[in-house]
């Protein structure tokens, strides 16, 4: 058993929250080069980025955004439920299911887009490269998030008014993944839609 360096659960919770926020800062900077690469690419090759974005399935993308934001709502409700000592399994299950639905739709989009990629040339390739890298990394994060939520679901009985730091911390992570998508959505789906 490791030494527990904290004197109380309260201290431990505060440490966990700080650690998660610090980790999310790291995550934000982890995405940094990709976002910067996108900004550079789009300013250097505006036309290619627009033409490459038009085959994106804007309906599916919008639906996915809605799903993910709804999952953030259910996750927030799960966190509050845990803090108040209420049952949270339903909220956790909904969160995970919404996440899975997102991944399913994303996968079908990947499938449909593969033919567009084959036709692309020049800086359009850069657009697709960034699209797959960024949404792929996001999907990876979401997959980890779903795993974490499933773990919380399994151990839901342990959490209550006294001890709920793991739910809170996982919630922060889930919302962060949501925030990333909030930026990815207009970056890849909404370029000069009026010309599409």
């Amino acid at each position: 058993m490791p030494t527990i360096p904290f004197d109380s659960r309260l201290e431990r919770r505060e440490a966990a929250l700080l650690a998660m926020w610090a980790f999310l800062v790291t995550e934000a900077l982890f995405f940094g080069p990709l976002f910067f690469g996108y900004v550079h690419g789009r300013i250097a090759n505006p036309a290619a980025f627009v033409s490459a974005s038009h085959p994106m399935h804007v309906v599916l993308g919008t639906l996915n955004t809605a799903l993910l934001m709804t999952s953030s709502l259910t996750m927030a409700l799960a966190v509050r439920g845990a803090q108040q000592g209420k049952a949270i399994r339903l909220w956790l299950a909904l969160t995970a299911l919404l996440g899975l639905a997102f991944l399913g739709i994303k996968a079908s989009e990947y499938w449909m887009e593969s033919s567009e990629v084959a036709k692309a040339s020049g800086a359009e390739l850069t657009f697709y490269f960034l699209y797959f890298a960024m949404t792929g990394l996001h999907a990876l994060h979401l997959t980890i998030g779903i795993g974490v939520v499933a773990w919380l679901w399994r151990h839901a009985a342990r959490f209550g008014r006294e001890y709920h730091a793991p739910v809170e911390v996982s919630g922060l992570y889930w919302h962060f993944v949501d925030v990333v998508w909030v930026f990815l959505y207009p970056m890849f789906y909404l370029l000069e839609r009026y010309n599409a």
């Binding site: 058993m1 490791p2 030494t3 527990i4 360096p5 904290f6 201290e11 505060e14 440490a15 700080l18 650690a19 610090a22 980790f23 800062v25 790291t26 995550e27 900077l29 982890f30 995405f31 940094g32 080069p33 990709l34 910067f36 690469g37 550079h40 690419g41 250097a44 090759n45 290619a48 020049g122 800086a123 390739l125 850069t126 697709y128 490269f129 960034l130 890298a133």
Partner: protein, 529 residues
């Protein structure tokens, strides 16, 4: 006398070490691992200096030479220097110095060591598979399109070890915030804690950028598409911006903890409080922050805009100021002290001298017009070795000597310690000072062969490297020897003031028999003794 189990006698099996959650044992694990990598990187350096003893490329082939300096850079930067003080001494001392039982997340702490080892294995695998020849900087498009060496494997190794750094940094930050002993306010913290805290901030903020940038290189290499490819509207300089956004602050990851160590050792052996404690603490934070604003000074001739060069040059001069403050304050700490020249103090004084030279020559490189001539020559090589080897490695060794009694419970042989410190100081200057001259005379770096007129200075440098090698092997020998035959160390052999000295040597598993309470600031040494 009651015998308390100390952390070392808390189990002798390999298993008890490899599954430990004790920050002190994890520190020892790190020490063993980075020592191995230090000698691996050192072996590469030895080969480099042997090759450069003559102008012709006669010892190894050009390809082998390129792989040697790449290995030297990759191993020394990511597998030795960056984890050296934070992961070994930071791990060992941060909880002790702030009166905590352990790091905030002991399991995570152990995990970060395993992550480090995993990253190391990938890197070693890349070496076994034939090495990599991009230099530690992985500049595109050479790394993405042209070399046929094991770039992806090494990138994977560096990517993984980056997460070890991030986890260590996370742990230190949360520990310093949440686990300080009662009464230990921020301005009562030892400067070593300030330094490791600031270092951890950099680890957290800079490392992820490197990790992603290297992933982009690997992806570009793998898929043939990428944002650094000019044929697709990308920009090779984009890589350099992202790379140096990490790699310049990385220099401060290496030097800040060394500054922290010097700030512990100098007051202790001058028997007086550190001069200008608050300025020292602010300078540490200043260096950590300003260090993020200067990366473009690596790119003055890269095709970066002239105006951006000017912005980065000015910011680079600004970051020199907190460094200057620290040097002045250390010197002023000697004033009216009562100075003992024990081995750790010799290392610390040597550190101040070498860091001063390294820092002052940094000003040359921050000056735009001079950098055009000096960049990518041996002047740069000399400059950063003065900072990283003369600074960080000297102080890592100084710290090992200073806290050796605490870590091992044994005293090292003092006279040998002093001899090693002097040997290193002389060997170091003999090795690297001629390289300043070589750079000024125009010898480019990463050269396997060079014009014959540079031979004399290169010979000095290679001879110095031999002295330096002796200087590194000496401590390995006598510190190892002292583990078994050294005199048993008392709790506080130096009469130092830090909390870590108020617990037995070596410390018990939970660090303190009872929770220490802090009632005064650090470095409260009696003025006269």
């Amino acid at each position: 006398m009651v015998t308390v189990t100390n952390y070392l006698s808390d189990g002798f099996t390999l298993r008890s070490w490899l599954t430990t959650h004790d920050h002190k044992r994890i520190a020892v694990l790190y020490m063993v691992a980075i020592t191995a990598f230090f000698f691996l990187g050192g072996a590469a350096a030895t080969m480099i200096r042997l090759e450069l003893a003559t102008p012709q490329g006669d010892l190894v082939s050009a390809d082998t030479y390129n792989k040697l300096f790449t290995v030297h850079g990759v191993v020394m930067v990511w597998f030795f220097l960056i984890p050296s003080i934070p992961a070994v001494l930071g791990n060992f001392l941060v909880p002790l110095m702030i009166g905590a039982k352990d790091m905030a997340f002991p399991r995570l702490n152990l995990a970060s060591w395993y992550v480090y080892v995993l990253g190391g294995l990938f890197t070693v695998a890349a070496l076994v598979a034939g090495g990599v020849d991009t230099g530690w900087t992985f500049y595109t498009p050479y790394s993405t399109r042209f070399t046929d060496s094991n770039v992806i494997l090494v990138i994977l190794g560096v990517f993984i070890v980056g997460f070890s750094s991030i986890l260590t940094g996370l742990n230190i930050i949360v520990t310093v915030h949440k686990l300080r002993a009662p009464g230990l306010g921020w301005f009562r913290l030892p400067l070593f804690i300030w330094a490791n805290y600031a270092t951890s901030l950099i680890l957290l903020l800079a490392t992820p950028v490197l990790a992603m940038t290297l992933v982009l290189v690997a992806l570009e290499r793998f898929t043939g598409i990428g944002i650094f490819d000019p044929a697709l509207g990308g920009d090779p300089l984009l890589f350099q911006h992202l790379f140096w956004f990490y790699s310049h602050p990385a220099v401060y990851i290496m030097i800040l903890p060394a500054m922290g160590v010097a700030s512990e050792i100098i007051p202790c052996f001058a028997r007086r409080t550190v001069f200008g404690y608050r300025f020292m603490a602010y300078a540490i934070l200043g260096i950590a922050t300003l260090g993020f604003l200067v990366w473009g000074h690596h790119m003055f001739v890269s095709g970066q805009s002239m105006y951006a060069g000017m912005v980065f040059s000015m910011l680079s001069f600004l970051v020199a100021i907190p460094s200057a403050i620290k040097v002045f304050n250390w010197t002023a700490t000697l004033y009216k002290g009562s100075i003992f020249f024990s081995a750790p103090m010799l290392y610390a004084l040597g550190f101040v001298g070498l860091f001063t030279i390294g820092g002052l020559t940094g000003l040359f490189l921050a000056s735009l017009a001079l950098d055009v001539h000096l960049t990518d020559t041996y002047f740069v090589v000399a400059h950063f070795h003065y900072i990283m080897v003369g600074g960080s490695v000297m102080m890592y060794l100084g710290a090992l000597h200073f806290w050796w009694p605490k870590i091992s419970g044994r005293m090292y042989p003092e006279m040998l310690g002093r001899i090693a410190a002097l040997t290193l100081f002389l060997g170091f200057n003999l090795t690297f000072f001629p390289q300043y001259l070589l750079g000024w005379l125009g010898m480019p770096r990463r050269y396997h062969e060079y014009p014959p007129e540079f031979q004399l200075l290169n010979l000095f440098s290679s001879a110095g490297a031999a002295v330096l090698a002796v200087g590194y092997l000496l401590p390995l020998g006598y510190l190892g020897w002292s583990l078994f035959f050294g005199k048993r160390a008392p709790a506080n052999p130096w009469g130092a003031t830090g909390l870590e000295w108020q617990t037995p040597s070596p410390p018990p598993k939970h660090n303190f028999e009872e929770q220490p309470v802090v009632t005064r600031g650090p470095y409260a040494y009696d003025p006269v003794r």
